[in-house]
């Protein structure tokens, strides 16, 4: 079956209805060329979203805040820390999106983040993708959402199967406040999106931050896995074929 590029684009953007989506997901599984084209659409989307994402976390110039509040324009160049919603003014806005980093890896740079302990980077760049390492990789591979404890350094959120036949899991790092999505592709956990969650979001950890939710919605096929499905998928080594 032939699909035109507009249809594949709409598929990659999560814009198709259930029937069409399922049909294309099945076709993509059996056709490497289709899979490649869908992956191209997603990669461009991730790169563009990642490039501009960090703007959200920048301090908003005071002149803009004053204009919105109907005050006289402030002098240029003054900045204020944008208040986190629900927090008293003056709290620094900490939601920095890190998708840009994943995107910048296309340049071939090798960067590592030492997010928990200096000795153990949790994500490194490899062949243009951000890949989970150390405790993060271990948690994505083994940890179950139902049995994890407050003491675990990584909190696993939703696990689900993607339309192109991989498993992804959302996660949050307790100490660093970083949230993201890990997808198991070619035997490793790739990180298509990470976000530094605002401090306030940590307490309502059940719900991933918007950037991660958006990444989930763009990929998920059907429903998220329940506890049984999650355990089965893990025991099958996150291999959709063997499940």
């Amino acid at each position: 079956m032939k699909y035109d590029d507009d249809t594949l684009m709409a598929f990659a953007d999560g814009e198709l209805d259930e029937v069409k989506r399922a049909e294309i997901a099945a076709a993509v599984e059996n056709d490497p060329e289709l899979a490649r084209r869908v992956a191209q659409h997603r990669a461009l989307r991730d790169r563009v979203a990642g490039a501009f994402g960090p703007v959200l976390g920048q301090p908003v110039p005071e002149r803009l805040v004053n204009t919105a509040r109907g005050a006289e324009p402030a002098r240029r160049g003054e900045v204020v820390q944008f208040p986190v919603r629900g927090k008293p003014p003056g709290m620094p806005w900490r939601a920095r999106e890190w998708g840009a980093m994943a995107a910048s890896l296309a340049l071939g740079a090798v960067i590592s983040w030492k997010l928990l302990s200096p000795a153990e980077p949790l994500m490194t760049a490899s062949n243009g993708s951000l890949v989970a390492r150390g405790a993060l990789a271990a948690a994505l591979e083994r940890q179950l959402a139902g049995t994890q404890t407050e003491a675990d350094p990584v909190r696993i959120g939703l696990s689900f199967e993607t339309r192109d036949g991989h498993f992804c899991r959302s996660f949050q790092l307790r100490d660093a406040g970083t949230a993201g999505l890990g997808c198991r592709i070619a035997g490793e956990w790739r990180i298509p999106v990470t976000t530094e969650a605002a401090a306030g979001d940590l307490r309502q950890a059940a719900s991933p931050p918007p950037a991660v939710l958006q990444a989930i919605e763009a990929r998920i096929a059907g429903e998220a896995l329940d506890a049984t499905g999650e355990e089965k998928a893990r025991d099958a080594g996150w291999d959709p074929v063997r499940r």
Partner: protein, 169 residues
């Protein structure tokens, strides 16, 4: 029911980070982006009577910014006709050393797109709007949006690939 200026103002304040991001994706640097955001916010407040309670405030604001951006492009084009070619009044694009290279390279590639494709990319890929919402913001039919989006994607991918080749040589 119309919201009070104070209420609308606070709602806009909450949306400022997204407005700045949208503006940044339409501008060559953050300074021009903040000027654009400022113009859009001023217009929104001046015309707040046109905002229908219950409508989506962010869509309305993005639409105002879209018009402000197009107006500014037209004005610059007119000025360029009567002035020296490089007297556009624009601030220079950021250099790679100034900021993260990803933002710089994507921004440069976006700058090469025709206006209507750049707007489609900004709505869907940068802001993550659904096709329906993007079509409303841009005031175009969905079919027009998707064809602009598809052409914009092709052009953007080509521009980013060119840049990689250029950087390698």
């Amino acid at each position: 029911m119309t919201s009070s200026p104070e209420e609308i103002g606070e709602l806009i304040v909450a949306l400022l980070p997204r407005l700045r991001r949208f503006a940044r994706s339409l501008s060559r640097n953050q300074h021009d982006a903040d000027d654009l955001a400022q113009v859009a916010v001023e217009r929104a407040l001046r015309h707040r009577g046109q905002f229908r309670a219950g409508a989506n405030l962010s869509s309305w604001l993005f639409g105002i910014m879209k018009n402000a951006w197009l107006d500014d492009r037209r004005a610059r084009a007119r000025r360029a006709e009567v002035a020296l070619p490089d007297d556009s009044g624009e601030h220079p694009a950021v250099t790679p050393a100034d900021t993260n290279t990803s933002l710089w390279s994507v921004s440069e590639a976006m700058d090469k797109l025709p206006e209507e494709q750049r707007l489609a990319i900004a709505c869907v890929l940068v802001e993550g709007m659904s096709y329906k919402e993007a079509a409303e913001v841009l005031e175009i039919p969905i079919g027009t949006l998707t064809s602009r989006l598809a052409r914009g994607r092709t052009a953007l991918a080509a521009a980013l690939a060119d840049e990689k080749v250029g950087a390698a040589t």
